[in-house]
Amino acid sequence: MGPIIPNGLIPIEWDSIIAIFIGICFGFVLESSGFSSSRKLAGVFYGYDFAVLKVFFTAAVVSVIGIYYMDYLGYLHIEQLYIHPTFLWGAIIGGVIMGVGFVAGGFCPGTSLCAVAIGKLDAWVYVLGIMLGVLLFSELFTFFEPIYDGYFLGNITLMDSFGWNPYWVIFIFSIIAIVAFAVANVVRKRVKKVFY
């Protein structure tokens, strides 16, 4: 019964080995999907390449369906999974700052690691930038603390907040993803091609 490691079905000593193994799969899939190229990633913001949208939303839809299906079949207890906590203004302000960083730098942290691995010097500089950003945040922590720790709504899900049925949420989320893919294909045909 999952989750396997928290429930003691695999000894905790395997945790780090599993982390490396999962990382290898993650890095392999991201790189093979073209996520080591900042110019491909940035395409989603200008309409010339929608790989980010397609990979990201397919992954989100597949994972949420899979997790809820495993819960339904009894292989996994959703209540035992870690729900990313909701600090309302932290999520909004942090997200807005990350969005600017994404367009300016052309990577997010995970994709920059893939680009670092294949020798993109701009990604090495980007990772250095991330570390400077972490340093800045930490040194000015007293200034950021109110939004970092404040407006805490708990480890809540959409069902907790809105009382929606999860299966309908997942169904509608999947429909939105499919519509977004269709719109993306229409947009891409109308936008001037960029070669990279």
């Binding site: 969005g99 367009v103 052309g106 294949i118 701009d122 250095l128 972490v134």
Partner: protein, 166 residues
């Protein structure tokens, strides 16, 4: 030359399911860089790190801040991407940028963009992997908000950075 994006996304979704099934948590990326910064500051100025309310959250007497799940996972990302890039013949040192801008400009924007992303990821307690993707996989409200904020803001300011990309 790259995979079909739906195929890549499908496999990535399976990895996320597998990760939650095994560990009860999702993926991440920025966490490893945070741990590296904590370790460096702790190495250079240990008293300063212990007195800082943020670094000290990740310091313990028994262990290095680098001994975390996300650091091992990030090492795996480097290995996995290296294998994939190697198989496809994509490994070489270079600065990738639009022909309309210089590499110097590209590197300056990469540094600034990274700085903003690193800062934002601390404020939001996670990046595109840890907060948005892994959050959305369990229908976390915060995950959806962070995802909307990242992409909303990126689209809103994309116009001002267009010269770098198109």
């Amino acid at each position: 030359m790259y995979w079909n994006p739906y195929f890549g996304g499908f496999l990535l979704g399976l990895i996320i399911i597998f990760t939650f099934y095994l560990t009860g948590r999702g993926l991440g990326a920025s966490g490893a860089m945070k741990s590296s910064v904590v370790a460096i500051v702790d190495g250079v100025a240990p008293t300063h790190a212990q007195n800082n309310a943020y670094y000290s959250l990740f310091l313990s007497d028994e262990d290095t801040p680098l001994n975390t799940w996300l650091v091992f996972e990030a090492l795996g990302i480097l290995i996995g991407a290296f294998i994939s890039g190697g198989l496809a013949g994509r490994i070489r040192w270079r600065v990738q940028h639009s022909p309309k801008i210089s590499s110097k400009r590209r590197l300056a924007f990469a540094l600034g963009g990274g700085l903003l992303f690193g800062l934002g990821a601390q404020i939001a307690r996670g990046c595109t992997s840890g907060a948005a993707l892994s959050g959305m996989a369990v229908l976390s409200v915060g995950g959806f908000i962070t995802m909307l904020a990242i992409f909303g803001s990126a689209y809103a300011v994309a116009y001002f950075f267009r010269k770098n990309w198109i």
